[in-house]
């Protein structure tokens, strides 16, 4: 069979390299250069899928990205299988396996096809309307609908392929490698512009590449021969990069474009491994030239969807480019001249052309005359009213049109055929132009939307700009490209062009039938199965906006985004509603132009590159000592260090006890650190913190609370005065970047008069915190020259010191309530200092502890963690930290907000302590707090923000925010949980060592 359908005289397909592939499990053969679609057609396989709603048999209809029917599942590996790919775009490779979608159990026998017989009761929005009631029955309906519908299967395992992204900056980007794109790219590159030409097919040349016809000649050569020479001349251009197999997906403002390059999809299975499958190019072009061509339109008539009905220009490409006959007895049906090109190509290749059915009155253009000369029969002023054949077309019914074209007259002629080519004219591919924000205008003479105005530096040329005839394409492209690039390329001056000119134009959106509309099935959107009837129904039901009609009927909403159907839908709406198409406008064209794989979208941002991991200089030690890690922002922080089989609770209990009984050691390197210098440094701190800073002595540290302008707590930390005009500020780990950015904002915009410089030094220092009653002994061993006596080195002060000649800063500050020292040393020595402290602490049983123990220890002392006990709605007063608000300062960030009517409300949520009646019961963080469970609706008074079992107090403790909490001290509350209500009492926030004795223990 395949031999009979393949012509041997073909220069594009290498007929010496046979390739085997599988379709629906059946082993078939094709050639290198075939697409899956051309190989299937060569094997006489037209039926490749079932339609979405009625499960009607559907065949290959096009040869490109607009294909609505031939969407297939590629591969059956659970990690690599890909649904919804277009057979017309898949390049054939050895080992390709593809299968039909949307049919069960098989494409030839599909149970869902019963829907076709029920189609009179399956109108537009049938599902919406029918299954709305009763509401909770949707679950039942959905099961059956999902099973019979669906578009392919998702892979069930992670994608094993590699994808990546790449940025590209160029002077000129040319989209589309057809004749006009090639000329434009050559013009740009020859004029020293850095130029990129992208083409979604594997070869340049577009449709001119195989246009070998007497009616289209340039300088006495066939147009394809002339173009081949042009393509060859591109290789000598240094400024030109050509990317084939690259599909432009999105065109955003500022000439920012995304293009997907297929790198391995065309390779044989065994050659794909280890290579990048697809690359997403992020392109920034100074100028963009769109040369994306045009798509042929179908014609809308009864049963226009049968397998074997193919766009006329696609039949031409299959015969001229792939050397494949779509049938042995082909009929053509058209409203314009281009079907005659197909007829001539077929006839020259020895295919029997039954006739051309043309809705126009007889016309005498060059190409029509040539067809007549070849003896091709033409039915002028006629239409096809029906087609027959279930799984493949076998005949068409032709009738004469009335003079006004609204009805049919005379007798039906039945014509046997095995393929019908249809041509409804051409639609410029303006998708990218409109994606970029360009506005379209309507051209009445041939019913097309063409580019009008754009704010971007871009140009549309060739048939995407509405130039369809060879001489117009060349002349207009050359002129506008020269003008757009401000160059004068005279390569294309004085070309002698022969081009057939279309004389007679006629368009009927919905062709008349011998049957009433209700008895016909004129399909508009082939993939979503919507017909002209559905559109009319929507209009009858009152939908007016094109966007609403689209959604109601789902026309244009399938994976092909209505590339073939949208214009007809618009035309029928305009006609029915009696408005002009230009006034109706179009639906919105959204990216991507063709579907992108998720892999291409995420690129390498998967697995270990999914998110950034920051490590402290001591990270390696934590790993070696089996720490469990916690994510804090992007940091990996040691969470706890389980010993043996300890779980988290056991480890934290042990670590907490050790820190209070002897000594613990914590890696605090992640805290944000900002070096502050300048003569106004003190004034600056006065303005950004709630407390006063001017009087802080050099060498002293102070805790500060930073608010937002709305009075809510933003960040906190200890700041140390290193010199007269020199401070170092610490911030929370997660807040570091935001705090620096906020401080810079105030310095640059509100207070530019202040002489203050901020420099982040977070990564310059490693911070080793030694904490517990024995901490002094360890620090004195590590830094023997440092006088640690309480009167020389007081709490909240700092000393410069040397460890083995390396400079470090030692701060005596505490986040746990224990005597603690923080040693800050430049990061490269951090691990070494840590190890030294650890070694020195061995005799005291020094215990490394992580963030969880740190949180527990500070909760015992009632110290807050911003972001855990606060959530952007807590003022310092709400936190019962009134003591930190300076009464003397005239202003600081957020001060005025502290006495707004809302912030002075007494019944705001306030921070309190909670003790459970059962000391063993540990509350869940986030649990709600209520006073009266019986009063409905139950009033939520607040929630638990921090909760731990304290090994040092031997009871459960918690912090919470509670409405009016300050006044509720001693009151009993309930924490309702799923199975029980927990009794709690509101307490003070400090659970341990209220007198701060331990700081000087």
């Amino acid at each position: 069979m395949s031999e009979k359908l393949r012509i041997t005289n073909n220069k594009f397909i290498d007929q010496t390299s046979r390739i085997s592939f599988k379709f629906d499990g059946k082993k078939l053969y094709g050639f290198k250069g075939d697409t899956l679609a051309s190989a299937l057609l060569a094997n006489n396989i037209h039926l490749v899928g079932r339609s979405f709603k009625y499960h009607r048999p559907r065949g290959i209809m096009t040869c490109g990205s607009e294909e609505p029917n031939a969407i297939v599942q590629v591969g059956n590996d659970p990690s690599m299988t890909e649904p919804n790919t277009r057979a017309t775009e898949i390049e054939l490779y050895e080992g390709l396996e593809a299968s039909s979608q949307n049919c069960w159990p098989s494409v030839n026998f599909d149970i869902g096809a019963v829907n076709n017989f029920f189609s009179p009761i399956l109108p537009a929005a049938f599902y919406y309307k029918t299954f709305m009631w009763p509401g909770n029955f949707w679950k039942v309906y959905e099961y059956f609908i999902r099973k019979s519908a669906g578009l392919g299967k998702s892979p069930t395992k992670p994608d094993g392929d590699i994808y990546d992204h790449k940025y590209l900056h160029c002077d000129v980007l040319v989209i589309g490698g057809g004749i006009s794109g090639i000329m434009a790219a050559k013009t740009a590159a020859k004029n020293n512009l850095d130029t990129v030409l992208i083409e979604d097919k594997n070869t340049l040349g577009g449709t001119t590449l195989f246009q070998q016809n007497e009616c289209f000649k340039i300088n006495n050569s066939y147009s394809n021969e002339w173009l081949m020479k042009e393509i060859q001349s591109l290789s000598s251009l240094k400024n030109l990069k050509i990317k084939t197999r690259t599909s432009l997906a999105a065109y955003h403002s500022y000439n920012y474009l995304l293009a997907r390059e297929n790198l391995t999809d065309h390779l044989d299975i065994d050659q794909k491994k280890g290579k990048i499958r697809q690359r997403l190019w992020k392109i920034r072009a100074k100028k963009v030239i769109i040369a994306t061509g045009a798509m042929e339109r179908p014609l809308i008539f009864n049963n226009n969807d049968r397998p074997g009905i193919i766009l006329s220009s696609s039949i031409k490409k299959y015969i001229d480019f792939y050397g494949v006959k779509c049938g042995q007895k082909i009929s053509l049906f058209t409203n314009n001249d281009s079907a005659y090109e197909t007829a001539i190509s077929l006839s020259k290749s020895g295919v029997n052309v039954n006739s051309v059915v043309d809705i126009r009155d007889k016309t005498n253009s060059l190409i029509v005359k040539q067809a007549e000369k070849l003896g091709i029969k033409i039915h002028w002023k006629s239409t096809v009213v029906n087609t027959n054949g279930y799984k493949k077309i076998n005949s068409i019914e032709i009738i004469k049109l009335s003079d006004d074209g609204t009805s049919v007259i005379g007798k039906k002629i039945n014509e046997k055929c095995d393929c019908l080519g249809i041509s409804g004219g051409w639609t410029p591919r303006v998708h990218l132009f409109t994606q970029s924000g360009g506005k379209l205008k309507f051209r009445d003479k041939d019913n097309i939307f063409i580019p009008d105005k754009s704010d971007l530096d871009q140009l549309s040329i060739g048939s995407c700009n509405g130039d369809f005839e060879l001489d117009d394409v060349i002349n207009n492209s050359v002129n506008s490209t020269n003008k757009f690039l401000n160059v004068n390329n005279n390569d294309y001056e004085n070309l002698k062009i022969i081009s057939s000119k279309e004389i007679n134009k006629k368009n009927i959106w919905l062709l008349p039938s011998d049957k009433p509309l209700g008895k016909t099935k004129p399909f508009l959107d082939f993939q979503n199965d919507s017909t002209a009837k559905d559109i009319k129904l929507a209009l009858r039901e009152g939908f007016k906006s094109i966007e609403h009609v689209k959604r109601y009927t789902t026309t244009g909403m399938a994976t092909d985004q209505g590339k073939l159907s949208n214009m007809h839908a618009l035309g029928i709406i305009a006609e029915t509603a009696g408005v002009k198409m230009g006034e109706l406008g179009t639906t919105t064209f959204r990216p991507p132009y063709t579907p992108l794989t998720f892999g291409a979208i995420v690129g390498r941002n998967v697995g270990e590159f999914f998110d950034i991991k920051r490590r402290t200089p001591i990270h390696e030690w934590h790993v070696e000592n089996k720490a469990k890690f916690e994510n804090v922002g992007q940091w990996k922080r040691a969470w706890y260090y389980p010993k043996g089989n300890e779980n988290m609770h056991e480890a934290v209990q042990r670590e907490s006890k050790a820190a209070r009984d002897s000594v613990g050691i914590l890696d605090a390197s992640t805290l944000g650190k900002i070096d502050i210098q300048g003569t106004d440094a003190s004034e600056f701190l006065n303005r950004v913190y709630t407390n006063a800073w001017s009087k802080l002595e050099i060498g002293k540290c102070r805790y500060g609370l930073m608010l937002n302008e709305d009075g809510m707590v933003y960040d906190d930390g200890v700041t140390t005065r290193l010199g007269e005009n020199h401070y170092i500020m610490t911030t929370t780990t997660g807040g570091a970047a935001n705090v620096l950015s906020k401080l810079e904002d105030y310095l640059q915009t509100e207070w530019p008069e202040l002489d203050v410089y901020l420099t982040s030094v977070t990564d310059h220092y490693a911070t080793v915190s030694v904490c517990g009653p024995n901490s002094k002994k360890i620090v004195s061993k590590v830094i023997p020259n440092l006088d640690l006596s309480d009167d020389k080195f007081k709490h909240m002060s700092f000393k410069n010191a040397l460890i083995n000649n390396i400079k470090c800063r030692v701060m005596r500050i505490s986040f746990t309530g224990e005597l603690s020292y923080e040693i800050n040393v430049q990061s490269s020595y951090g691990k070494s200092v840590w190890e030294k402290c650890f070694e020195a602490g061995k005799e005291f049983g020094i215990t490394p502890y992580g963030t969880e123990t740190m949180h527990l220890l500070r909760a015992e002392k009632g110290f807050i963690i911003t972001g855990q006990d606060t959530d952007g709605t807590m003022t310092p007063v709400d936190l019962q930290m009134d003591w930190i608000i300076s009464k003397k300062k005239y202003d600081f960030i957020g001060k005025r907000s502290l006495y707004r009517s809302d912030t002075i409300r007494e019944d705001r949520k306030q921070l309190v302590g909670l003790l459970t009646d059962d000391p063993k019961e540990v509350l869940e963080e986030g649990a709600q707090i209520v006073a009266d469970i019986n009063k409905k609706p139950v009033e939520m008074l607040g929630h638990v923000t921090s909760s731990y079992f304290s090994p040092n107090l031997n009871k459960s403790i918690a912090l919470a925010v509670v409405k009016n909490g300050k006044k509720l001290k001693g009151k009993k509350m309930l924490v309702p949980m799923k199975n029980k209500n927990i009794n709690v009492t509101i307490t003070d926030t400090i659970f341990l060592d209220k007198e701060n004795r331990r700081l000087n223990a």
Binding site: I162, D164, H165, K166, Y167, L168, H169, D194, I276, K282, R284, R604, E608, F609, I612, K613, R614, R615, T616, P617, E620, W635, T670, D675, Q677, G678, T679, G723, N725, H726, D755, Y757, T759, S760, V761, T762, D763, H764, Y765, L802, I803, N804, N805, I806, K807, Q826, S827, S828, Y829, G830, K831, S832, V833, K836
Partner: protein
Amino acid sequence: MLNYNLPINVTKDYSEINFSTVDPVLKINLRGKNREFITKIGKILSIIPPTDPNISSGNENLNILWLSPDEWLLYSNDKIDPVNLHAYLNNDVLEEKLYNEISLAKLGSITNVSDHWVMINLKGKNIFELLTAGCPFNFNKFKNTKGAVTQTLLNHIDVIIHNKDINDLNIFVRRSFSEHLFLWMNDTAARI
């Protein structure tokens, strides 16, 4: 004695791409707003900090990179002899001199950031192939401009890039991000 630990300390070779870390080098952040500051720096270092954006100045020992209208990064060219390392880092005469004559003289601020940044050197014909895989910056002009400087994002991480010579550049990345960035660089370079 304390041990000196670098987060990355390897040399890697790929197709026309070579990575190496050159550490320790001295890195100091310079900030100041007025002419006096510029003049003073010029006097101390014999290099005038550039006031034009996206460039650097320097001599065979030191480089000053423009970071913003009032901020520069000073770094030394050469690796310091490990034997003298401790002495170098502690009694760093240069840093002290700058601090005394700029910070204490109220002309601006001097901050040691030697360990804040990790410097990775990239050499080879394909280094821009690597950078364009994760960086939105337009390198077309930059790559032919000796001494050009940019601050941008590489694989979502802040970096400073100094174009030392044709196909020879230094990337500065914050220390805590350096291992992650280096992992990404190796992953990408292996496929170029």
